[in-house]
Symmetry: C2
Subunit: 330 residues, 2 copies
């Protein structure tokens, strides 16, 4: 019996709960019996060693109510017996909290961790990976980069044995939406940003996305976890997309190029950078909409490209569930 | 100490031997100590329980000489102790031999199998998978589909937990080369085929590729192993590329489409087919050259696309090595 705790019950946490509920039988065939013994968020939580009622927890959120107060994530970690936590609290890339403490405390107890939270990994990947090693616990984080687009396990497992020379990709769907719409509509950045906000693709304050901060955070995770580097967020050369004009697109398109925000780590060329780049219009990274994509340069396999949905509750849950199955497959 | 036997010492077998030799130290860190205890081909072989000299074996082939006569693959299976065979003999999709017997005999003895040989899987996937299960042996076959393009492990592991509705892809690099050249040069099929033969991209008798036989074989493997189906080669509706004219391309291109040979299995639409299809020019499957690509339709992750080199000695070795690491990672 695998006992699961879910920390953070926003879109991602709820998405995971829905999959665990709706696919219970299929998942049991893959990983054996499991139950969720706790769900917490920043305001409260529910815990039951015999299994939390997922449907009821989801209902509470559907009615925009709160989980019961009086129980904290640290209470759960300190007092409940569970095998794996799904850490889906909000990302903070400056101090990594509250996820960083959750992850550390779980790993210290030998509890496996699956996280969708970039913050702790951006702040302390090496420390967390070492801690997991020492405690013989697993730290899984497919959901931190590219949503449903598999890149962590793809590189670690499917391309195992390859030397990874470089990874470059489109790691932020909001920027890609804005740029591909600017390409198509020949409108200004501000006009398209307004459209993106209306559609819920850009946040009211879009800084985190459009300044390349989100992409840079993911790039740090890629560099440290897939390319055996030890870089910090501050090491990333970073330019956002706010200054790109319709005229720039026009010049680019005339020559058969488009413009995309590319996150790029290259061991050979010593590049660690997020910046708008010219991309040939038929290049595999010249994708449109909110998709994410990555091009992985290797010694044996050559270049591999992967494209997928970079965000979304169900899509992020997909990445988390694949981590869960990797951990516990019968 | 992992003991490896290599059956088939053509381009793929030699590619694997080269990687095992050149990456020995890196691989040892991943899977622990290993040695190759036998290499055989259709004419002979070498075996040494203390480890075959890989450099010497490769030298023999480089000088276009033969491996010593007097030892057969079945001798090795019957008399030598080894943990895993790398089955890289020539594909025959009618009877699967000689690979089918090699794989069966290994699995029966509880020996793990990594194969690049499509034949045995096309002829008897279910039987082999069941045999492996019963004998608690592993059957790995990333190299049978798409060369270095990860698709088997990507779907089985990275997208685990997803329901796979459909997979469609470009699974034959020769056809894709011919079609993308026809698109670009506006020349006839025969003219481009002649070019492809000259470049070594098409065989003297190109039937196996251009009639869609190779793509259909791969599609059967995909359907049976990744989508839990039980289909035979004969079940694949199949049309090759030999009748495609420059005029067809012209009409397609006028409307923003190109033509590609698409292998497609769709559980919802009940499709199992290899045929030339119209593809929007900016579609992720509208790739050029000898690349392979696959689009995987899932319930949670949405659509995932992967693109990579579909053939080549080093590239196929990459897939085999990733299987080896999956089996024995420390």
């Amino acid at each position: 019996m695998i006992k699961i705790a879910i920390f953070g019950f926003g879109a991602v946490g709820q998405g995971v709960a829905e999959v665990l509920l709706n696919k219970r039988d299929a998942l049991r065939r893959l990983i054996g019996d499991f139950r969720v013994v706790a769900i917490t968020d920043s305001k409260g939580g529910i815990a039951d060693e015999n299994g939390v009622d997922l449907l009821k927890a989801l209902e509470i959120k559907r009615k925009r109510k709160r989980l019961p107060e009086g129980i904290t994530t640290l209470d759960v970690i300190n007092s409940l017996d569970f095998d794996v936590c799904i850490e889906a609290t909000v990302t903070n890339i400056e101090h990594g909290e509250p996820g960083l403490t959750h992850i550390k405390e779980c790993l210290k107890r030998g509890v496996d961790v699956i996280t969708s939270n970039k913050g702790p990994l951006v702040v302390a990947y090496r420390e967390l990976a070492d801690l997991a090693d020492r405690k013989d616990a697993k730290l899984m984080f497919e959901a931190t980069v590219g949503g449903a687009m598999p890149i962590i396990k793809l590189v670690k497992n499917d391309l195992a044995g390859n030397e990874i020379y470089a990874i470059k990709g489109i790691l932020n769907g909001t920027c890609n939406y804005i740029l591909s719409r600017m390409e198509k509509e020949k409108l200004s950045y501000d006009q398209i940003l307004a459209e993106a906000k209306e559609l819920g693709i850009a946040e009211a304050d879009p800084t985190y996305d459009v300044e390349g901060i989100d992409a840079a955070a993911k790039l740090v995770i890629i560099a440290n976890s897939l390319m055996d580097m030890d870089v910090k967020f501050e090491d990333v050369e970073r330019i956002g997309i706010t200054n790109i004009t319709p005229e720039a697109f026009e010049v680019a398109m005339d020559k058969g190029y488009t413009i995309r925000l590319i996150a790029e780590v290259d061991k050979v060329e010593r590049i660690l950078r997020v910046s708008p780049r010219l991309i040939p219009i038929q290049h595999p990274l010249a994708i449109s909409g909110t998709l994410n994509a990555a091009l992985i340069k290797t010694d044996l396999a050559g270049d591999i490209v992967v494209v997928g949905k970079g965000a979304g509750s169900k899509e992020t849950a997909s990445a988390i569930i694949s981590d869960l199955i990797e951990l516990y497959r019968c």
